[in-house]
Amino acid sequence: MNCTEFESVVVDIARGELMEAAARREGLAHATGCERCGRRLTNEQRLSGLLAVAAGEDAGRNAPVAVEQALLSAFHETEFAVRPGRRIWWLGAAGAAVAALLMLTFSVMVRKPREPEIVKVPTLMPAPATGPAKIIAPVYRETRKPRARTLRAAHRKPSTPKSQSTERGREVVTEFIPVVYDPEPVEHGRMVRVRLPRSALAAFGLPINEQRAEETIQADVVLGEDGLARAVRFVK
């Protein structure tokens, strides 16, 4: 280590600052060999000693008690308009409330049918009381394909054929087939989409393929206001 390098570490050595052990060792060795740098280190150490004495004398100095009393008075008068903890709490609560409100609104908008859940179904006339049973062949007509195969699908407002074919694919349905004999025509009811065994077709006198009897088939069931099934149509 030369004198210039020593100059850069002499203060740290004199102050006992944390430094590399090798640098300290080299600095001390240089101070031992170099008279000028040795004096320099001694002066710095004396200065550090004097500063330590001054710091020690000051260690007991504190602000007068009157300052604390004045501050306590000010503390009691302070309104604490901004309270970090509370502000955060209120912000969080307000944010959560707004978020919950938005979610609730969104949920209602999504779930709520645009019309009441009652859908208009074709008038079902009772079958003639006399004469042989008439087998109705499944005559499918095109309608829209429901997005979800759940009861929710039946809650949706029936849309126009144009929108059905353009917006969501197509599906083919039969005419509504009365389930029970009811002299009163069904004007309104609720329609739900269900899956039935294909064998259910036979119950309505429709032809089935026996090899596929175990498969299921979609059907729209019309429920009367009393909750009983009034009519069914099959969907393909």
Binding site: R46, L50, E57, D58, R61, A70, F80
Partner: protein, 215 residues
């Protein structure tokens, strides 16, 4: 009266227990409690930090009244603008030093009555010259030497003075001082080196001049 006699110690015990809990809390937690208008938290925080703030202002200004006012103002600012303190930027102690520093600067700019080194009467003898003398005399000389040192510190340019006060009198590390001063560690280091060089020069010149007088 008996009821009061019975309940008072319990209340005092609870208060002492609470104060003990508060004493162990970190500055940030005390500050949060203080913001919730907890007086005890404020008291604990004040008692913990007022000494350093007061001493810093005193050592920077050399005036007890300035130190007193500065201490009061620093904690008033903490009361009213405590939310302005950001723990991510450093510890509360650094923040308080920073506030105190600005207040002392402002006050010194208003007064400009800080002491000049050449104006003071002094003995001028340094402790190392009096090693063999009696203890009383040695103490006296040491006191005078410390007084000379204080005057020399007060005569330093403000930036150098801050470095000496924080690093040597308050024993902060370079990094802590840098946070308080809002500058780089290297800047603090170089300021401290320069400040100490100036102090050594001034003390040595006094020593030599006083030696001349003695001769």
């Amino acid at each position: 009266m008996p009821l009061q006699y019975l309940t008072e110690p319990v209340a005092v015990r609870r208060l002492n227990c609470w104060m003990k809990v508060l004493t162990n809390l970190a500055d940030d937690e005390l500050l949060r409690l203080m913001a919730s208008k907890n007086e005890h938290a404020f008291t604990v925080l004040y008692q913990r930090r007022q000494g350093a703030v007061y001493r810093f202002a005193l050592q920077m200004s050399g005036s007890p009244s300035v130190a007193e006012e500065t201490t009061q103002e620093v904690f008033l600012i903490l009361l009213h603008e405590g939310s302005g303190y950001d723990p991510a930027r450093g510890p509360l102690a650094s923040y308080l030093y920073g506030v105190a520093r600005r207040l002392v600067w402002r006050r010194m700019a208003q007064d400009r009555t800080h002491v000049q080194i050449g104006e003071e009467e002094e003995d001028g003898r340094m402790p190392e010259q009096l090693i063999a003398r009696s203890e009383v005399e040695s103490d006296l000389v040491r006191d005078q030497a410390v007084r000379s040192l204080r005057r020399a510190i007060l005569a330093l340019p403000v930036a150098y003075r801050e470095a000496v006060v924080l690093c040597d009198l308050h024993e902060l590390s370079y990094a802590e001082a840098a946070r308080a001063l809002g500058c780089a560690v290297g800047t603090v280091r170089s300021r401290l080196h320069r400040a100490r060089a100036l102090l050594s020069e001034r003390l040595a010149s006094k020593r030599s001049s006083s030696s001349g007088c003695l001769v």
